[in-house]
């Protein structure tokens, strides 16, 4: 690298180092996950079947339906990953398939709208107290 003679190499060095440190500081918070409280990641079978994990947005659904519709009428248990949902059941009209059938909500051919999670995510409720207590290393995820 050619540097004009009037530039003090020490100052340049310090400046470069400082800018790298600044960049590192700015990038640190970027490693956190800011997903919505209550988003449910379901990875019971997805990645074993070479699909991305499912991200279920609770917030989106509660604007449209009260808790009772899914947790009463459709039989969803209050437990992330506790419903043993698979695509066969969905296509058969159970669970998500009660609405995601192409009539009420978009149908099962839109794989990537649900299977949209980062690879490697485990089944959990994002931002849940339980997860932050049981696995402190995963706080905020």
């Amino acid at each position: 690298m050619s540097v004009p003679k009037w530039v003090n190499p020490k100052a340049l060095h310090a400046g470069l180092l400082a800018s790298v440190m600044c960049a590192a500081l700015v990038m640190l918070p970027g490693s956190k996950a800011w997903a919505e409280y209550g988003d449910v990641v379901i990875n019971n079978y997805s990645e074993d079947s070479d699909m991305r994990p499912v991200v279920f947005p609770h917030w989106f659904h509660r604007i449209r339906f009260r808790c009772k519709v899914c947790h009463g009428d459709l039989g969803f248990e209050f437990q992330a990953g506790g419903n043993d949902i698979n695509m066969l059941k969905i296509i058969d009209g159970e669970y998500c398939g009660a609405c995601h059938n192409g009539n009420i909500a978009w149908g099962v051919e839109n794989c990537e709208l649900c299977h949209s999670g980062k690879p490697g995510l485990e089944t959990h409720v994002h931002g849940s107290t339980l997860k932050s207590l049981v696995t402190p290393g995963n706080q905020g995820q």
Partner: protein, 198 residues
């Protein structure tokens, strides 16, 4: 000459930047990096850290920030006051899978739970709960519908049992102590508690 001035300015900025950052961190009013920056709340799926940006459909998903813009604020969870949003008619979520016109049978009954510690007593409002849920969602699996039959504990709630089945997962989180512990003890209550302790 212009290049020289620009270079000197750049070098000066590079040197001063770390100084200003260290000055900021010493400021007693500086922001705690461990807390979520309000700017990062309700992030769009492409930036929320759990959706895969490489997934071709991720950018078609709605941003919660956009959906929440007209809803009342809260201090935690989704930063939306869902109960107020429903009661003020800002949202009208459907109550029944089959019947679009069915409305919930709301039960307006407060249950007061006297707590042993120094926290205010808990007032459980059936009203707000029955606006969203069916009786069978909680009774009898989570709570036996009988007075005195459900000894509650914060430890169990924190571990996702009892109220923690929803609060701390999707309903307002358990950090909102005073949302439940909302009835101040009267001096008579406190005297009774002290007497009991003796």
């Amino acid at each position: 000459m212009m290049f020289r001035i620009a270079s000197v300015t750049l070098a000066a900025v590079m040197l001063v930047m770390p100084l200003s950052i260290s000055a900021q961190s010493k400021d007693p009013l500086s922001f705690n990096r461990l807390m979520a920056d309000p700017e990062t709340r309700n992030a769009p799926p492409l930036k929320d850290g759990i959706h895969d940006p490489d997934n071709p459909a991720t950018d078609r998903l709605q941003s919660p920030r956009e959906a929440f813009s007209a809803l009342p604020d809260a201090n935690a969870g989704n930063y939306v006051d869902w109960v107020e949003a429903l009661q003020d008619g800002l949202i009208n979520p459907r109550y029944d899978l089959q019947d679009p016109d069915m409305s919930p049978t709301v039960m307006d009954l407060d249950i007061v739970r006297e707590v042993k510690g120094s926290m205010p007593d808990v007032v459980f409002p059936h009203k707000e709960h029955t606006e969203w849920l069916d009786c069978a969602n909680c009774h009898p699996a989570i709570f036996i519908p009988q007075r005195g039959a459900n000894p509650l504990s914060m430890a169990a709630i924190l571990m996702g049992e009892q109220c923690g089945a929803c609060h701390g997962r999707v309903a307002f989180p358990v950090t909102q102590c005073r949302s439940c512990h909302s009835r101040s003890k009267t001096p008579a209550d406190e005297a009774a508690t002290q007497k009991e302790a003796q």
